[in-house]
């Protein structure tokens, strides 16, 4: 039934999207063939819409309409603008890997420092051999589109036992207006390794662009990993990102996502706890204003016994913005002694702001402890008055309370420097409020 829908209206343009990009897509002839197959899947499905349950609150057909043509490879001027953006958004001391309009920019990256501690290749390089990284077990149209169109990405491998001395920061920079960037990255973290991965999405002057990113992470047994994603794209951009994370045994994984940009965004993550004794902390903050639509969809799949998962999600929604949180905890039949909890709270700063919370528990084991909670509400007037009576103007009083509200999620970031970086982005969001 979707065939008819996909072909009506924008059907023609959909095919042009791939045809016009094909000559620029990296990969051997067999890789190109599997790209074409992925594109056919996307074409058959079309952009996700509200009748697909997982996309009920984020109807990309209505919100985005069409996928923009592939961005041209960045020229010298674009790289210059990107270099300035790197300076503004780099985390002090981090090893940077920079993707500009979907193309890896070696000159802006710290490849040499990084390769002293970790294995690194570009997606482009790996696709010369095979299409392995373009396959994922998913029937989602945006992921199929990503497989078809991905121009580049980073492929990292961190050896068993490696203790990285600095965070790795992947910075996605958009310089091309009204164009799309498709990226796909893979991070393999060895047994007993310790690593911090940060992903940043920012604009360098570009407007009305689209980002479709996919990240595949595998965490080995006994590893200790912090994974932080900071999506601060231009206010009129679109960002759709898919994460596939597989976690081994006795792992500590601390994931954090913050959305402060893009007109329309969705982070959809699937985290599979595949080894016993692991602890997952998955947290997020959506800060939305104007007419922004931000969707965080997380599936935590307890596939084995004795794992703990904790999710703390906070949304601050101003003006006519719309926040979506969908959190699903799956407990497989074997996953006894699972301890999974999820708490989501939304703060509505205007009468027209909207929050949709959809927590789901799918429990197939009988000896588990799982729970979820969801609240939404406005700022507390009595707290606001107390702060004003102590001299804080309305805006500043609100800002302090908003920071406190998101604090519970932000405080899950253990590293002081990273936490300060995140708070800095949140503060700039607060300053943008009209």
């Amino acid at each position: 039934m979707n065939v008819a829908v996909a072909k009506t209206g924008s059907g023609r343009a959909v095919s042009d999207l791939f045809a016009s990009a094909e000559g620029r897509l990296p990969g051997s002839p067999s890789v190109i063939a599997s790209r074409r197959e992925a594109f056919e899947t996307y074409e058959r499905l079309g952009l996700p819409h509200r009748r697909i349950e997982e996309w009920k609150y984020t109807d990309l057909r209505a919100l985005v309409g069409e996928v923009l043509p592939l961005a041209a490879a960045p020229d010298a001027a674009a790289l210059k603008r990107a270099a300035d953006a790197v300076k503004a958004h780099a985390i002090a001391g981090a090893r940077k890997l920079v993707l500009v309009d979907g193309v890896f920019a070696a000159d802006l990256s710290d490849v040499r420092a990084l390769t002293a501690e970790a294995g690194f290749r570009t997606l482009r390089e790996t696709l010369e051999k095979d299409a392995g990284l373009l396959t994922t077990a998913s029937t989602d149209a945006v992921i199929a589109l990503n497989a078809a169109m991905a121009t580049d990405g980073v492929v990292l491998s961190i050896a068993d036992g490696a203790q990285l001395s600095a965070p790795i920061q992947i910075i996605h920079i958009a310089t091309a207006a009204s164009a799309s960037a498709f990226t796909r990255s893979q991070v393999v973290i060895g047994k007993g390794a310790r690593a911090t991965l940060v992903e940043s999405f920012v604009a360098a002057g570009a407007k009305a662009y689209q980002v479709n990113d996919a990240v595949i992470v595998t965490v080995g047994d006994d590893a200790d990993v912090a994974h932080i994603r900071l999506m601060d794209d231009a206010p009129d951009a679109v960002n759709v990102t898919s994460h596939f994370v597989t976690v081994g045994a006795n792992v500590k994984l601390n994931f954090f996502n913050m959305t402060t940009g893009a007109a329309v965004s969705r982070l959809q993550g699937l985290i599979t706890l595949a080894g016993e004794g692991s602890e997952l902390s998955a947290n997020g903050v959506n800060l939305l204003q104007k007419t922004e639509h931000g969707d965080t969809t997380l599936v935590v799949d307890h596939a084995v016994p004795n794992c703990v998962s904790r999710e703390v999600f906070r949304a601050v929604i101003d003006d006519r913005a719309h926040s979506v949180f969908q959190g699903r905890i799956i407990v497989r039949p074997d996953a006894q002694k699972t301890d999974g909890k999820m708490m989501t709270r939304a703060l509505l700063l205007s009468d027209e702001a909207e929050a949709d919370n959809k927590p789901e528990l799918e429990i197939f084991a009988d000896d588990v402890s799982c729970g979820h909670g969801a609240t939404s509400g406005a700022l507390d007037d009595s707290l606001l008055f107390y702060l004003k009576a102590r001299g804080l103007p309305e805006k500043q009083a609100q800002a302090l309370l908003i920071q406190a509200f998101v604090g519970e999620a932000v405080e899950q970031i253990a590293d002081d420097g990273l936490r300060e970086h995140v708070i800095g982005i949140a503060e700039r969001w607060l300053e943008r409020r009209s």
Binding site: L387, K388, A389, R390, L392, P393, Q396
Partner: protein
Amino acid sequence: MALLEVKDLKVRVEEREILHGLTLTVNEGEIHAIMGPNGSGKSTLSHVIAGKPGYEVTDGQILFKGEDLLEMAPEERAAKGVFLAFQYPVEIPGVTTMNFLRTALNAQRKARGESELMVPDFLKKVREVSKSLNIPQDMLKRGVNVGFSGGEKKRNEVLQMALFEPSLCILDEMDSGLDIDALRIAADGVNALHSPKRAMVVITHYQRLLNYIVPDVVHVMSKGRVVKSGGKELALELEESGYTQFEDAA
């Protein structure tokens, strides 16, 4: 010199008049006590002076240092030197007391056109004052009033008073929920702040607090008006005879 002049103030809350023409003058350096039964309008008066929303002033005026207080937002009143010590100080999880104190102090200084206080100077001052009020340093690192006992919350109010150096302090039922020791510490803190330039308005049900903070003037409120004013002996008289006589007078 008159610091606070409340003239024939009429205030409504949700269509019901609470203050029916209240008049009160507080001069620099004076300590005034306002006493009265529940529902006489004591707390309403303190809220209206501080600028709490939800109160409709239908008549009369409030002048502070000669300026029309009712025209000012609550934060402007704070910057001008009005301080309300809350009967029930709120808890603000996620905002540390230290961060709150610094943000508030600098907001007031900025509103007055003064420079921000440097961090070392600020810390030194907070340490001095909190020590004198018996407030442990680790309390300052916790969320504002989160997990504080009743006495600690009130001492935190006095700490703010000492830091912000207001010229008018309104203490709304400072004694409520405090045992005698907690009351003494808080009252000592307040007394230490009393100066020839700074006035205090102490709102209370009971004479007990006035053993520690000795007023120059005592006002009795009943049914939205000041029905009697006198010296500190008026408080003792009230303790013996109760408020009933004044309810009839009102």
